[in-house]
């Protein structure tokens, strides 16, 4: 029951917000739903909810991603309050659909994390695309429209391929002997050892390509820089911090079935290939990137690659990947929110035109430095720990050269990011630009995220570690 409410309350909240014309009340509804959602998601750790038939249930991995989504959403909702209020003065903005679409977006992402039936999960992921498209087109600019179109078309095509993979899996399962099991994860995992191998393999490949498109794995990532950079800051934060994880969950569900069949070697190889390709391509495009929001978007591609590599390596690296999912979401959300602050004051996303952020926006500047160091993999922040775990796992295993390649690519990405951000942060700026007073919420929210990332870098609390461990075991890894 609680699971159904988790999905329905945001959905109904969206309808309510659509009906209400006042932006302030809409924002209130948004905040209320976000708080309720987080409370329920956290509460379910202590009081588990029974599954809803065979369609909805919360397993560890799903619950982990649900909690991440919920936390990011609440932070974004808080940030959005001054943001939207400021935007109502902008003639190019269209705020009336903002809150409803955000809430429907949350409902769809929640459904992805709680669904056990693969076709329901597919419908939910498609719903996230449809709910988030209007959000990207918040500012009615031609470039935003272009980004929205690419996002819609490329992601829909990718997700259609994932549906094909879902059907292939069903066909593979029907070859398992005693009739065909429903497309529910448990039943599929049970039938997996007897599935017809060719169909199973093609199913995983289709799902990897399809959901990988939505996740931002190269070479299907072409929509991501456009969409994440053109969208308004809170939406970018959600897209990078929450949605990409949910798409990854789609891939992971298929991976779970393949694991149960015992033939997971090819799947791991594919994950490694796509993962490294993503990290490499992103690193290359991050060097000399002219637009700082696109820079962060490519960083998302890179980090999704890291997640794929972590799961592909298996063992302790899977634990590292799960930890990295948490770290990346918190960190990237902070980065995009801070980028929103910079954009509001400087009015441009071109990095070359921005200078002296540390002087003009001191709080944002400091936080931006912190978040950049964090996402780049510097200690003592969270991403350093998770990337270290993955690197160590590669070195200790038989794939030493993979570990070295991993570090090298991450270093290139870090340097590329530094090359773009440091000139922005430093410098005098123009003489007439005084320090600007920043709305409290737009600074407090990234601050909380950065603090969390710092804490995770110093030590991982035991309950979290256990959760990450069980999630890793579910995905064929283990041992942190």
């Amino acid at each position: 029951m609680a699971l159904l409410l988790l999905v329905l309350v945001p959905a109904l909240g969206g309808l309510l917000a659509l009906a209400i014309k006042s932006v302030r009340i809409d924002l209130g509804v948004l905040l209320a739903v976000a708080v309720l959602h987080l409370a329920t998601a956290v509460g379910l750790w202590f009081v588990p909810s029974p599954p809803l038939g065979s369609l909805l249930a919360l397993d560890v991995a799903g619950h982990l991603f649900l909690t991440i989504t919920s936390i990011v959403f609440l932070v974004v909702a808080l940030y959005a309050i001054p943001y939207v209020l400021h935007a109502t003065h902008d003639p190019q903005a269209a705020p009336h659909l903002f809150v409803p679409c955000l809430l429907w977006f949350l409902a769809a992402m929640t459904l992805v994390t709680v669904s056990q039936h693969l076709a329901v999960m597919w419908a939910a992921i498609e719903a996230t695309t449809l709910a988030s498209a209007p959000l990207i087109y918040f500012y009615r600019k031609k470039s935003a429209l272009e980004a929205t179109w690419k996002y819609l078309l490329i992601c829909s095509v990718g997700i259609a391929l994932a549906l094909l993979g879902t059907f292939f899996l069903g066909i593979a399962a029907s070859g398992a002997g005693d009739g065909a099991p429903p497309l529910v994860l448990d039943a599929l995992a049970n039938a997996a050892p007897h599935m017809t191998r060719p169909w199973l393999k093609v199913a995983f490949i289709m799902a990897l390509i399809g959901y990988g498109t939505k996740m931002g794995l190269a070479p299907m990532h072409t929509w991501l820089p456009d969409a994440h950079s053109q969208a308004p800051a809170p939406v970018s934060a959600l897209l990078s911090g929450a949605l990409l994880n949910c798409a990854f969950l789609g891939v992971l569900r298929f991976y779970q079935v393949v694991l149960a069949s015992g033939d997971a070697a090819f799947a791991r190889t594919l994950l490694l290939v796509f993962g490294f390709l993503s990290i490499g391509l992103a690193a290359v495009f991050m060097v000399r990137q002219r637009d700082y929001k696109r820079l962060f978007a490519y960083s998302s591609v890179e980090n999704m690659g890291i997640l794929a590599v972590g799961v592909g390596l298996g063992g302790a690296a899977t634990f590292g990947a799960m930890l990295h999912a948490v770290n990346h979401s918190l960190c990237k959300a902070a980065l995009f929110l801070l980028a929103g602050n910079v954009l509001r004051v400087y009015g441009t996303t071109t990095a070359g035109d921005v200078q002296g952020v540390l002087r003009r926006l001191p709080l944002t500047g400091v936080l931006l430095t912190v978040a950049f160091l964090a996402i780049g993999g510097a200690p003592p922040f969270g991403p350093f720990m998770s990337e270290l775990v993955i690197f160590q796992s590669a070195i200790r295993g038989s794939e030493v050269w993979l570990g070295i390649l991993f570090i090298a690519l991450l270093a290139i990405a870090f340097l590329g990011m530094a090359g773009v951000l440091l000139p922005m942060l430093q410098g005098e700026g123009a003489a007439d630009q005084l320090p600007v007073r920043e709305p409290r919420l737009s600074v407090v929210t990234p601050l909380c995220l950065c603090v969390a990332v710092f804490v995770l870098g110093v030590f991982v609390p035991a309950p979290l570690s256990e959760v990450l461990q069980s999630a890793a075991v579910l995905l064929g890894g283990g041992h942190g």
């Binding site: 039936h117 076709a119 329901v120 597919w122 419908a123 498609e126 719903a127 695309t129 449809l130 498209a133 209007p134 087109y137 009615r140 031609k142 470039s143 429209l145 272009e146 980004a147 929205t148 179109w149 690419k150 819609l152 078309l153 829909s156 095509v157 259609a160 549906l163 094909l164 059907f167 292939f168 069903g170 066909i171 399962a173 029907s174 070859g175 065909a180 099991p181 429903p182 497309l183 017809t196 060719p198 169909w199 093609v202 820089p225 456009d226 950079s229 053109q230 495009f285 990137q289 002219r290 696109r294």
Partner: protein, 218 residues
């Protein structure tokens, strides 16, 4: 109805695919996809081969859903969008229409070859199901990639979905009706959103050539 009748329907689907890939009239392409939806609605009956009342009822429900959505509502939405934008024809696409037809034929060949590599899905599936589904998918993808006008790309997306749906038909027994309906609805809403975005594109840019949407790049 038997599995052999299904083969007739599947061949009709392929012929419609070839028509869509070779035509330059967008309204004709949309109507052809409506005809495909209509043919798709006949498939559940052909595939409900063991004829128990509950399977037939299930088939009838799916057929009604497919008919309503793919043959009526979605083409109506697209034709409405087309009217608002007021274009009639696709300009010469990246690949000329003659070559498109030949490439479409090649893709059908590839689909037949690929389905020969995979073992048969399950007993009782018509032999043409996998090749035709793959062929429709590939041709739909080809249309998305090779056409310039946004509405034609959406028709290509529809073809892809039709091909995937044919696959889903062979699994009709395992899926609760609710889920299939959910999939159909998703596609419907998707087309709706596509239509709105196309409208915005034509208003902002005075045309619908998506290949000129190339401002964002590195």
């Amino acid at each position: 109805m038997t599995a052999d009748h299904a083969d007739v329907v599947l061949l009709v689907l392929v012929m419609i695919d070839l028509f869509v890939v070779a035509t330059s009239r967008i309204a004709a392409a949309i109507r052809a996809s409506a005809l495909q939806g209509f043919s798709l609605a006949l498939l559940p009956f052909a595939l409900a081969s063991d004829g128990t009342p509950e399977h037939l009822a299930h088939a009838a429900l799916i057929a009604a859903g497919v008919l309503l959505l793919k043959a009526v509502l979605i083409p109506w939405l697209l034709l409405r969008a087309l009217r608002k934008v007021q274009i009639r024809r696709e300009v010469e696409p990246f690949v000329s229409l003659h070559v498109s037809l030949l490439l479409g034929a090649l893709l059908i060949g590839v689909a037949f070859w690929a389905s020969a590599q995979l073992p048969a899905p399950r007993a009782g599936t018509p032999a043409l199901l996998v090749p035709v589904a793959l062929a429709t998918l590939l041709i739909g993808f080809f249309i998305i990639v090779s056409r310039k006008k946004a509405i034609t790309q959406v028709v290509g997306y529809l073809l892809m979905e039709n091909g995937i749906f044919v696959f889903g038909m062979s699994l009709a027994r395992e899926m609760p009706f609710v889920v299939e309906l959910g999939i159909l609805l998703d596609v419907l809403v998707g087309i709706f959103v596509f239509g709105i975005v196309i409208h915005h594109i034509s208003e902002a840019f005075d045309h619908m050539d998506t290949h000129t949407l190339s401002e964002l790049r590195d």
